[in-house]
């Protein structure tokens, strides 16, 4: 049986090349390929026909054709599934383009299978044997099936051959996903936190979707017979593949409620920016699903369209990496210098080469709350004569603010700097949080009890589209749900005069997604210090105090009546004609500190800025800046309804195509900052009080 029974079948498969070039199916099937009838000699085949098919070769042919047809069917299904995965990945690359080129490469490589068919098969068999030896009950039946398939075909009659056609192929497809994150995922979600495991994140969705399917197959210990293939569970059940899109922060991105998206944000110089803009603008349509979704009858994908886009995505990734490295380098340098200065300042005789730069940041308080220690440090430096009388303008605190406003705090310093700049490092009492939580849970104080009640009501309504808060796959609260509860409970018990204000839930929720190195205790102290010392006070009352609301409304009025006409005259005229109240939009922004509608990536950077700037005026200037960014779009709209929709949802509004970019926001904000001073604001407050 040297000739293939249906050569056109396999050649059909072979023409199929996909995005990752990994889908080259075995062609031609070599003689050494195990597990097939062609391995038997004629006598054996005749024996088989006589024994199992009553001597009728036609029955065997019929059986074989039937098997082939089923295999083809399953291949089509698998191909289709893989296509969908590709689509999902592309969508992610497109929407959350700040995947670095490294990540994209890793992904591509993990899918690459450039060995020959025989090697692949041998590898799989070897793997299956080893797996089988290691585990009494094999975790994945696919492996054991291959093993059985191998032994059975050689010794037993054909009809008993357990085939689950394409089993090894589907296994091959699943393999990269399993390798990357399967074991760590879901089983212990605590360990799969944000950012530090970026790579495995992108597979989160896919892995989740294959998880239940694997469970299903492992239930059926007996290999599936060929004729039951139609009834066997598909690798991807529809309800799970619907959940396949989860971004790196854990947001389900196919949900209508989904409001936090990552930006494709590449602050860079003109030339690069043009290039990137070119890439983004010109290639977006090519990446859109409608165009690439051309699945032909055989289920093969029309992938040629996608490949150039992937290259460009890689290019974006490279630019993004380069820019980030540049920012990080600046920070490295800045922090290294500060540590050196600090050692000189404390005069502890450590030689520069002996300084441990890794631990210094967490060991000492070099920056202090809001970076104020830097002023002392600068002064000391001039005392040591290295920087003679550096004026405040060029001092380290100025550099810090500049660096933060340029691109936020890099992830690698986020942990240390959030703790330090917020003042949490100073404030924290280790272990205290547990007492506070206990106190909150057992309080008899009515006000505190009502706060706790409100928190409980809001927990389920905080980031409901994020898997770490609301695990839709397993219909249970995610790990951050409980962390959020603890942080808020502790907060209301610690600050019973401020209590719980709706909006805190979202802010703490966002902070919990900031850095996996930050524990709930860290977040509690960061949030507490932030609320107590960094958020503005109105007449001595905390920003979140109930007594501050009237002043907040006065500020809103000042923003609308005083600053809007001066800084955004065109928009002001337009809004006046429409009789639109911006307070309906901005009040929400303020109470939520812009957590609603701003992409998480930008919000973190905004929070970084809050840590080193005057939030009292920033609330006004950031609000105005957001209007400025959307100005053209808003001027075009003649409907208040639309304007409210756009500004309430910002980047996620279906009515606008504007993507907020951090550097745009900062640029506009910087110009507005010069026009809105704290002193003016305080004077205006008296004027607008009534």
């Amino acid at each position: 049986m040297k000739e293939l029974l249906f050569p056109e079948e396999s050649s059909g498969n072979a023409t199929n090349s996909d995005l990752f070039g990994s889908n080259k199916l075995p062609t031609p099937v070599t003689n050494s390929l195990g597990g097939n009838l062609h391995q038997l000699n004629n006598d054996q085949i005749n024996k088989l026909i006589n024994l199992k098919f009553n001597g009728q070769p036609v029955s065997l042919i019929r059986q074989l054709s039937y098997d082939l047809a089923l295999k083809e069917l399953e291949l089509i299904l698998l191909r289709k599934e893989k296509f969908q995965r590709e689509q999902e990945l592309l969508k992610m690359c497109n929407e959350y383009g700040n995947l670095s080129s490294l990540e994209i490469d890793q992904k591509l490589n993990s899918l690459k299978v450039d060995e020959s068919v025989d090697n692949v098969l041998l590898g799989l068999i070897e793997h299956a044997i080893n797996e089988d030896l290691k585990n009494e009950a094999p975790p994945n039946t696919c492996h054991s099936e291959i093993l059985e398939e191998e032994s059975v075909t050689k010794s037993e009659p054909f009809s008993r051959r357990p085939s689950r056609a394409g089993g090894w192929i589907s296994d091959w497809f699943k393999e990269p996903y399993k390798r990357s994150s399967f074991s760590s995922l879901g089983l212990d979600k605590e360990t799969v936190k944000t950012r530090d495991s970026k790579f495995s994140y992108s597979y989160l969705g896919s892995s989740l979707s294959s998880l239940p399917a694997t469970e299903n197959t492992s239930d059926t210990k007996i290999p599936v017979e060929l004729d039951t293939i139609n009834k066997s569970t598909p690798v991807n059940t529809p309800e799970f593949s619907a959940n396949a899109g989860i971004d790196k922060y854990g947001f389900f991105n196919d949900m209508t409620e989904f409001s936090d998206k990552n930006e494709l944000e590449i602050p860079m110089n003109k030339k690069q920016e043009e290039l990137v803009d070119d890439v983004i603008v010109n290639d977006k349509p090519k990446l859109s699903i409608t165009e690439t979704n051309s699945l032909d009858v055989n289920g093969t994908t029309n992938v040629r369209l996608i490949i150039p886009s992937i290259d460009k995505l890689k290019k974006i990734g490279q630019l993004h990496d380069a820019k980030n490295r540049q920012f990080e380098f600046k920070w490295d340098q800045f922090i290294k210098d500060l540590i050196k200065d600090y050692h000189k300042y404390t005069n502890n005789n450590v030689q520069p080469q002996d300084i441990n730069y890794h631990s210094a940041l967490s060991e000492y308080e070099i920056f202090g709350a809001q970076g104020l220690n830097l002023i002392k440090l600068d002064k000391s430096q001039s005392k040591f004569g290295s920087n003679s009388n550096a004026p405040h303008e060029v001092g380290s605190i100025k550099t810090l603010r500049k660096l933060v406003s340029e691109n936020g705090i890099p992830l690698k310093y986020r942990h240390d700097l959030w703790l330090e700049l917020s003042g949490a490092k100073n404030l924290r009492v280790p272990g205290e949080m547990q007492n506070l939580i206990k106190g909150a849970k057992t309080t008899t104080n009515e006000v505190e009890k009502s706060n706790i009640h409100q928190i409980d009501l809001d927990l389920h309504r905080t980031l409901p589209s994020n898997i770490y808060f609301n695990d839709l796959v397993n219909s249970q609260p995610g790990p951050n749900f409980y962390k959020l509860q603890n942080v808020l409970y502790a907060f209301v018990f610690y600050n019973s005069d401020i209590g719980y204000s709706q909006g805190m839930n979202k802010i703490v929720g966002n902070l919990l997604l900031g850095d996996s190195k930050l524990s709930e205790e860290d977040i509690f102290w960061i949030f507490t210090a932030f609320v107590e010392d960094i958020l503005p006070k109105y007449n001595g009352y905390n920003f979140f105090s109930i007594h501050s609301l009237p002043v907040i409304r006065v500020d809103q009025k000042i923003m609308h009546i005083h600053y809007f006409p001066r800084l955004l005259p065109k928009l002001n005229g337009h809004f006046s004609t429409l009789n639109l109240q911006i307070e309906y939009i901005t009040l929400n922004w303020w109470l939520l500190l812009f957590t609603d509608g701003l992409p998480l990536e930008i919000w973190f950077k905004l929070f970084d800025n809050f840590l080193v700037s005057n939030v009292e005026t920033a609330l006004i200037t950031i609000s105005l800046s957001l209007f400025k960014i959307f100005e053209d779009c808003l001027l075009e709209s003649q409907s208040c309804n639309d304007i409210y929709h756009i500004m309430k949802n910002l980047s996620t509004s279906r009515l606008s195509k504007i993507k907020i970019k951090y550097h745009d926001l900062v640029a506009v904000n910087t110009t507005f900052e010069k026009k809105v001073s704290k002193e003016d604001l305080h004077t205006l407050r008296k004027l607008y009080k009534d």
Partner: protein
Amino acid sequence: MSGRKKTLLKVIILGDSGVGKTSLMQQFVNNKFSHQYKATIGADFLTKEITIDNNKQVTLQIWDTAGQERFQSLGVAFYRGADCCVLCYDVTNEKSLNNLSSWKDEFLIQSNVSNPQDFPFIIIGNKIDVDDSKKIPSLQKKLNNITNNQLGGLNYPVFETSAKDSINVELAFEVIAKMALQQEELNDANGNDVSDDYNDAINIHLENDAGGCAC
């Protein structure tokens, strides 16, 4: 065709946190229910055009407000110019029922309506889809106590709804629209001042306005 002016009616939904205000609004406007609404902070609104009394087209602007008590003082910003107020409670939460009258009082103080005595309110008891065992014991009696109280009780139409299963939601809002329309016409007749900055419903541009209005 005789030109009929499209009327914009502003409706405020009030009630304790978690009684289902957002769900009611979403069910009525978008015919959908989700377990994943975010807590409303400040206020939010949606609009829907409906036809009442067979021929009258109105646009309902429905304001969903924050239920947390501390935000009640923000009502000034949102209540003004309201044509009807919906007081919501949760049939499984007795406190939310008892709080109805304070929500009403707060509304009248902050909205500054011209006719506090006969301003249209309606009461909605939401979540009737839940198991009977979870409902407030002898709910009807307690509700009667609240609505029939001689001394300024809440003698208003009551609807029991389920935003989840879409029971009575449409019906309730139809009544709301009619009541709001009456109030609006009353205001028009009295020539009540609506020119104040923060006073009227937000003036929504209606595309058909130009053609439709011949008065």
